[in-house]
Symmetry: C2
């Protein structure tokens, strides 16, 4: 498999974690978003969404990270990301899709760029916007985790939810979001970051990260 | 089952279509978003996201429309929304999740309200924002449909993709979005709206629609 992605893209990061957790080998192909490589004809002819990640596998180019993760789990059922139990599957998806559908888009680069130009907002206003939507979704996620009595992971090992949570928490930390009242999320973050799968998938350790420690 | 929703909420509309297509009887319980009923303690104690839709079924309150639709299809496998074939499942999810993850949130009421206050944008600027994001995702969706040679529906009958597409198209028409260069989307819209399941689910035919034709 070939994963076209960008080290700091949270959706690319999701896929890296998913592939690592499933133990699927992949070739990492950086796409330079800052140079709009994903908008070039060579790329959009394969992925009309002009987005990362794109996964080339079994002769098909697939876009859209959540559809990809659902596909990965169906096409490669070993080391499942979703639990087997129907109720648990719902629980994992509720929390993951809260982040993927409510939170991701307003914080994504195209929206942040639009706020700057044409809407003319300052970086301060954009930072406030960013933290506003983080609080609005991560607050209820924390509440649900508390209701469920969650420990180090949502279930006995990291899976579907953690694949989506960790990249969002990484982004939130870049914007100095305060996790002081979110002990469940912080505990899950720490437990995940201690695992080699999450370390290999981390933006800090990607070849296209210019600040990568050698 | 009890569906808590709002006639014009696109995620509530998704669930109504899904339940209708699956032939599952449900009680429709209106939640008045304009009066912020979904933010009251009685509601948020059941659904911390403070959002519609919420589905009460099998003694559990479920939130998050995409997680709900995936759950419905697993818990009630008759009349499946997702096709059986692995590749077709991916195709349906790619298109549905493009709309649910990229497009829905920037057009959702909380974001539009924030653009107005505190950001101070005019209705004209908000309408331009709205159509900008519609074009950005529905353009590639149309391209994919053209690549796939889609007819009246993505597959032989409406399912997962149409459940997500139709509410977004309904919203787009309210904002006078031009579908002139999107014949595949328009054809699917027309084919769906001709079906009684989509007619019963339509915002025009909900009891909480103040303009409902008697």
């Amino acid at each position: 498999m070939k994963l076209y992605g960008y080290y700091r893209s949270s959706t690319s990061y999701r896929l890296r974690i998913a592939l690592e957790l499933k133990g699927i080998a992949f070739e990492n192909i950086p796409v330079n978003l800052l140079q709009s490589e994903q908008k070039g004809a060579a790329y959009t002819s394969r992925n009309p969404f002009g987005s990362v990640p794109m996964l080339e596998a079994d002769g098909r180019d697939r876009a859209q990270s959540m559809a990809l993760i659902e596909w990965l789990d169906e096409a490669h059922p070993e080391r499942p990301l979703l639990p087997a139990d129907l109720e648990d599957r719902y629980t994992a998806r509720e929390l993951a899709y809260a982040i993927a559908t409510e939170l991701h888009a307003p914080l994504n680069l195209p929206v942040l760029k639009y706020l700057k130009n044409p809407l003319g907002h300052s970086q301060d206003e954009i930072d406030t916007w960013y933290r506003h939507w983080l609080a609005r979704t991560l607050g209820p996620v924390e509440q649900r985790l508390a209701q469920l009595g969650t420990g180090d992971f949502l279930f006995d090992r990291p899976g579907f939810f953690e694949v989506v949570l960790l990249p969002q928490v990484y982004n939130a930390r870049r914007f100095s979001f305060d996790f002081g009242d979110k002990p469940h999320i912080e505990r899950i973050e720490a437990a995940c970051l201690a695992l080699p799968e999450f370390q290999r998938a981390h933006p800090d350790n990607q070849p296209d990260n210019p600040e990568r420690s050698q």
